[in-house]
Symmetry: C2
């Protein structure tokens, strides 16, 4: 690789010292007008740009942040990346994206490498499923102990003290289910994840509360808990065919469209016979036929907020004070699948 021009090169060429060059380029009043101009002209001509690695070494900050997410084939995380990247770039930070692929080990390796290697100034992380299942958060606690800022996003845990960005999952699903009830649904199925996933758990609670508040019986046979994304068709199909339901609340996009497909294949109409509402505002629900109502969690905004919290920590020198949790409001997007 062709070597890039350095301060030293300029200094030699112009027969001045390195510090003169450095100061000139920073418009230091220490340096005489004419030398300053001469240096700047030369630097511009040769397209000089300071070497960020050297600056990082000197300043002990890299202007990189790590974003660790469980997967990417999920519009929610795609949006998060977008939001994070946008704000980070505006503020002069680069985003290193790491996928844990829902694996505890990969999450740990990623974090350890970046944290100890000193490649990033801070982390934004959404926990992998496996991590939540094992409830082993030492890698994160250690990051915090090192004094590296850490912001958790969406999939969080109380066992790590740090800034957090979440949505009001329980309320979001409460509203969604209430909406179904208002549309006249009486027998509403819930398609959710296993309980160790923080958001799945909260969304389940919203469902339960909504039923209760509207005087509907909680019928456990209308609830199906799915572990993993592969092979969700079967349990959903079974539920749809064996239970006499008139509404479905699904805690993510995939479950919602899968349920809709099962309903339609079963010869029923959406929303006339069965109304459906999902969670997460991705393409899948928007472009389904009929378009599926959903709870928007504003992934992009969550990403933006997370970066801002992180940068705030990075820019203040006072250690630790107190941590805050920002709750982003969900909003209900009513589409065809839940009646007019």
């Amino acid at each position: 690789m062709k070597r890039k021009i350095t301060l030293k090169d300029i200094a030699k060429e112009l027969e001045v010292s390195i510090s003169t060059v450095s100061k000139s380029l920073k418009d230091s009043p220490e340096i005489g007008e004419d030398t300053r101009e001469k240096v700047k002209a030369f630097a511009a001509l040769y397209n000089y740009k300071p070497n960020n690695i050297a600056i990082s070494l000197k300043n002990r900050r890299t202007k990189n942040i790590a974003l660790i997410i469980p997967e990417i084939v999920n519009d929610f995380f795609g949006e998060v990346i977008g939001g994070v990247e946008q704000v980070a770039n505006e503020k002069g930070y680069n985003v290193i994206v790491c996928l844990s692929n829902e694996s505890f080990d990969k999450e740990v390796v990623n974090i350890d490498t970046l944290a100890h290697g000193g490649q990033v100034d801070g982390f934004i992380i959404s926990l992998s499923k496996e991590t939540m299942l094992r409830q082993d958060y030492n890698h994160l606690i250690e990051v915090e102990n090192q004094g590296m800022p850490l912001v958790m996003l969406d999939r969080v845990t109380e066992q790590v003290l740090c800034d957090k960005v979440i949505v009001d999952d329980a309320r979001g699903s409460y509203n969604a289910v209430s909406h179904l009830i208002e549309q006249g649904c009486k027998k509403i199925a819930l398609i959710t994840t296993v309980d160790y996933i923080s958001v799945g758990h909260l969304r389940t609670q919203g469902y339960i509360k909504a039923l209760g508040d509207h005087g509907l019986e909680l019928d456990p046979s209308l609830i199906v808990r799915i572990d993993g994304i592969a092979g969700c068709e079967d349990p959903i199909k079974k539920l749809v065919e064996n239970q006499d339901i008139d509404g479905v609340f699904a805690v993510n996009e995939l479950f919602a469209v899968t349920a809709m497909k099962a309903v339609q294949n079963h010869g029923k109409k959406v929303p006339q016979d069965v109304a459906i509402i999902g969670f997460s505002d991705g393409k899948l629900l928007k472009h389904a036929t009929p378009a599926v109502s959903t709870v928007s969690q504003h992934g992009e905004e969550m990403g933006r907020v997370a970066v801002k919290m992180l940068l705030k920590r990075l820019q203040s020198d006072k250690e630790e004070e107190s941590f805050s949790t920002r709750v982003i409001k969900t909003s209900l997007i009513k589409r065809e699948s839940s009646g007019s």
Copy 2:
């Protein structure tokens, strides 16, 4: 931020020199067995990890690569990220993801910053629409001139000499359209992008050739070219309602589902009245009802291949030799929307 432990710290603590520590940790036979062990034990105890920034400065390589893509709310690019990230991580590289948002300016800024700033060792890029429209590739040519490896992916141009990874777009769409014809379609609409987008252009050519080879007339009124993603509904709707078609080939996911929706709203059945086939194997087509046939471009593999090409360049010191273009084979995924 708490300072991380350095060689110097260890040296002071153990009352040996820095070089002794460095060599011990690298298991250099120069150092006596016992000092070596002592140092290693101490380092392990305090969880010493070398500072990668310092190493980068010394070695003039960062072990970071930049991936520049136009957008992320598109499963194809999501898959690409996955593939890139996977192989890069395996090889000890980090991936800095940048979104150009289809903007020429942002693409230029991203590249200039990272290239001149010395934050990355190489680039993988998929061109923004605006860049292809303007045909201004100076920022990329300059990267090449600097001797930084550059791999173009999917959206490429002949005007930049570098390694490339593409799919056989023309053949992929040829196969797709041929499949429709074999299913008995006679009047096949083409929903494509404007022509300056390399892949849109090629896919259009495949369509034309397939018609010709099967003795079907090319009817320009069956072709609609859409600029941008917003507001594709109207032209598609108009086409579907005004033309008597029995097949649709769309060059991306969104156009395909939008067409399907228009067809269904128009009171026709898919695939009985109108067969549909798309391009790109994302969730949108897979989970549509009916599931939509498509041409898979294997985004993840493209990403993997791109990184491998990039790393190969990075690891060989010989400059420039010749550039290669890897063509990934598409495959036809037959689903419900195009008949049995």
